[in-house]
């Protein structure tokens, strides 16, 4: 990992600190009161560990830290730190991912026992759950603590539709959010992550780090747990950036699949991961989904992108998609089996470089929006239990479809139904 990824100001502030037990990086834009509460909560951790808290602050923000007194404490150092987004032309996602790199770099430099990142604004105050993400790391009872948020039917759709069920099917771990964004990693996992990046020398982004977490845990026989953190507050979505999101997030996941093919091909079944606390439920959000617009995007894709999809998908899938495009919106539904095969075929095409990888991932957008429309239509009036059942069904479809992926992965030319 490059030293340059750590902001210069943070390097100067860190100069007085030789070592620490825990680094907590606050990437989310928390209020000063929340930060002070996080620090207070961290002080209650058993064994009086030495803690460094990196607090995200705007570079222009000159107001004194609400917890300035805490910053001078011998067991806890609070270091203000400007995210790269404020000073460089990065997208918010890229800025956040650069922050992960910085936090891990600092963790490695200080020789910590664990590293924790707070990247979301949650409806519960972070002081209530930050210890869940850190205590097991200090006790060395866990190497990766993944977050689990209260389910809301139309939130985290990319995770629900692809990332989580794909991870479950490939690596056999039923993790709700395999890529965080809030997470805790142990020293062992941190070293493995950094070793991999140093060996790779590919200038991997933070997203590659996040995509490598679960494969490293599974292939390195490390311990993983899940902490229920409550409901997450999401910023308003912008449908025009969906294709960029797909490209930025799925690219590293498919690359990780390629690197760990020997490992995931051996995994046959999935198992639940250890929960550190009780699940939390949250009221469902209101709002109407514009299903018409989503279906129109899908139909436009069918009309104009068939030539490209023809290079990626087998004829049977294309035929089914064409049939779906002719259905009236009230009957529009993408079967799970078809969706799973589409994702597996895209992963395979990514590996084989059938077309330019950025084109490949961006061309998935109308299909993804079609899935979202189908899911939204199905769950418009559903309760939380129904959401769990629906997503469990999808995850099972991913697991059932895995032999298809393995066969196509091993014999892409011979096995092409």
């Amino acid at each position: 990992m490059e030293v340059d990824s750590v902001p210069q100001q943070a390097v100067q502030d860190l100069g007085q600190i030789d070592s620490a037990d825990l680094v907590v990086g606050i990437v989310a834009d928390l209020s000063q009161e929340d930060v002070a509460e996080v620090c207070s909560a961290l002080r209650t951790l058993p064994g009086s560990p030495r803690i460094v808290v990196l607090q995200n602050r705007l570079a222009s923000d000159s107001t004194p830290t609400g917890s300035a007194a805490l910053a001078q404490d011998s067991s806890l150092s609070l270091i203000p730190w400007a995210l790269p987004t404020q000073s460089s032309p990065m997208t918010p996602v890229e800025g956040m991912l650069a922050a992960y790199q910085s936090i891990l770099t600092i963790g490695e430099r200080l020789g910590v026992r664990g590293c924790c990142v707070i990247a979301s604004k949650l409806e519960h105050a972070p002081s209530k759950w930050v210890c869940q993400l850190t205590a097991p790391l200090l006790e060395a009872s866990c190497d990766f603590i993944a977050p689990s948020y209260a389910r809301r039917k139309f939130e985290g759709l990319l995770n629900s539709s692809i990332i989580s069920p794909l991870t479950r099917s490939l690596y056999g771990l039923r993790i709700q959010n395999p890529m965080g964004p809030d997470l805790g990693v142990s020293q062992k996992l941190l070293q493995k992550l950094l070793e991999r990046e140093q060996n790779g020398k590919t200038g991997a982004s933070g997203m590659h780090l996040l995509a490598s977490l679960v494969p490293l845990v599974l292939c390195g026989n490390l311990q993983v747990s899940q902490a229920y953190l409550g409901a997450r507050s999401y910023p308003p979505g912008d449908w025009t950036t969906v294709s960029s999101l797909l490209s930025e997030i799925l690219g590293p996941i498919f690359l990780a699949m390629e690197k760990n093919a020997a490992c995931w091909q051996r995994t046959r079944t999935s198992s639940p991961v250890k929960a550190l606390n009780e699940p939390v439920s949250a009221p469902q959000t209101t709002g109407t989904v514009e299903i018409d617009r989503l279906v129109n995007s899908f139909q436009l894709g069918i009309r104009d992108l068939q030539e490209i999809w023809g290079l990626i998908l087998p004829p049977a899938s294309l035929w089914e998609l064409r049939k779906l495009a002719r259905l009236p919106i009230e009957q529009f539904h993408i079967p799970d089996e078809l969706w799973v095969r589409i994702i597996y075929d895209f992963a395979l095409a990514h590996r084989l470089r059938t077309i330019n990888r950025d084109h490949l991932l961006r061309s998935l957008t109308p299909l993804y929006l079609g899935w979202v429309a189908s899911y939204a239509r199905e769950l418009e009036t559903a309760e939380e239990n129904a959401i769990e059942h629906r997503l469990e069904r999808l995850s099972l479809a991913y697991e059932i479809g895995k032999p298809y992926l393995v066969s196509r992965w091993r014999w892409p030319d011979r096995f092409n139904p």
Binding site: F154, S243, T286, D304, N356, H359, T365
Partner: protein
């Protein structure tokens, strides 16, 4: 007098036959050169074809992103295209060697000018190949981007972009070949401008209603409407 006519006729026949006879070795050499080059071309073509087939060249080409090469190939096989091109190059070289065997000033200068032109031809081929790849890449980027933005005229935009790049490429190749440079420049300007104008008209007129509706919707939209969409992807 009859004797003089007979002598003149005899001399002209002798000169003609002598000149014709002097050309025979050249023709034989040309024939032999062609024969040998054909044989060599057949052998090289066969070896290259087998080599490329064993390497699964057709699949690799498609995997490397040059699938449009198959469209231009005989029987949709880039292997046949490459082996055929090599065979043709060998036959052409044999023909030029045969022509040079006449050892006349005309053929020598012909061969010289043909060889001097070869770099231009090679350059034009490279320009065309690169242009075709760039055109396809750009067209695909435009198509996917436009579809993802829900633009109904995505295909039109994509095709227009492809033709813009192809027209530019063909003009560059023709200039490289030094074929009617003035006409090419003029025609290129007219065609390029025409395509841009046609695209602008098509998109502008075609989406007039859509733009009006979009602007009206934006003007009427309240801040509450913008956060109403409950979908959160990340």
């Amino acid at each position: 007098m009859w004797g003089q006519v007979k002598q003149a006729l005899y001399q002209s026949t002798t000169r003609f036959v002598t000149r014709l006879a002097s050309l025979v070795p050249g023709f034989v050499a040309l024939f032999l050169a062609l024969l040998i080059s054909l044989l060599l071309a057949w052998i090289v073509g066969m070896v290259v074809r087998r080599l490329l087939s064993s390497m699964r060249f057709d699949e690799r080409v498609s995997r490397w992103g040059f699938s449009s090469l198959a469209e231009w190939s005989p029987q949709n096989s880039p292997t046949l295209l490459v082996s055929g091109t090599m065979a043709c190059a060998i036959v052409a070289a044999g023909f030029l060697i045969g022509i040079a065997a006449f050892n006349s000033d005309l053929t020598s200068s012909l061969v010289r000018s043909i060889f001097a032109y070869v770099p231009n031809v090679m350059g034009a081929i490279v320009v065309l190949a690169v242009g075709a790849v760039v055109a396809r890449y750009v067209a695909r980027s435009v198509l996917i981007g436009a579809v993802n933005l829900n633009l109904g005229y995505a295909r039109l935009l994509s095709v227009g972009t492809r033709w813009l790049v192809m027209v530019l490429t063909i003009a560059m190749a023709l200039v490289h070949l030094r074929i009617a440079v003035g006409i090419v420049e003029l025609a290129f300007g007219i065609l390029f401008g025409g395509i841009v104008f046609a695209l602008a008209l098509a998109v502008g007129l075609g989406s007039k209603d859509m733009v009006t509706k979009s602007l009206e919707r934006d003007a009427k939209r309240t801040p509450a409407d913008t956060v109403d969409e409950p979908l959160r992807h990340l």
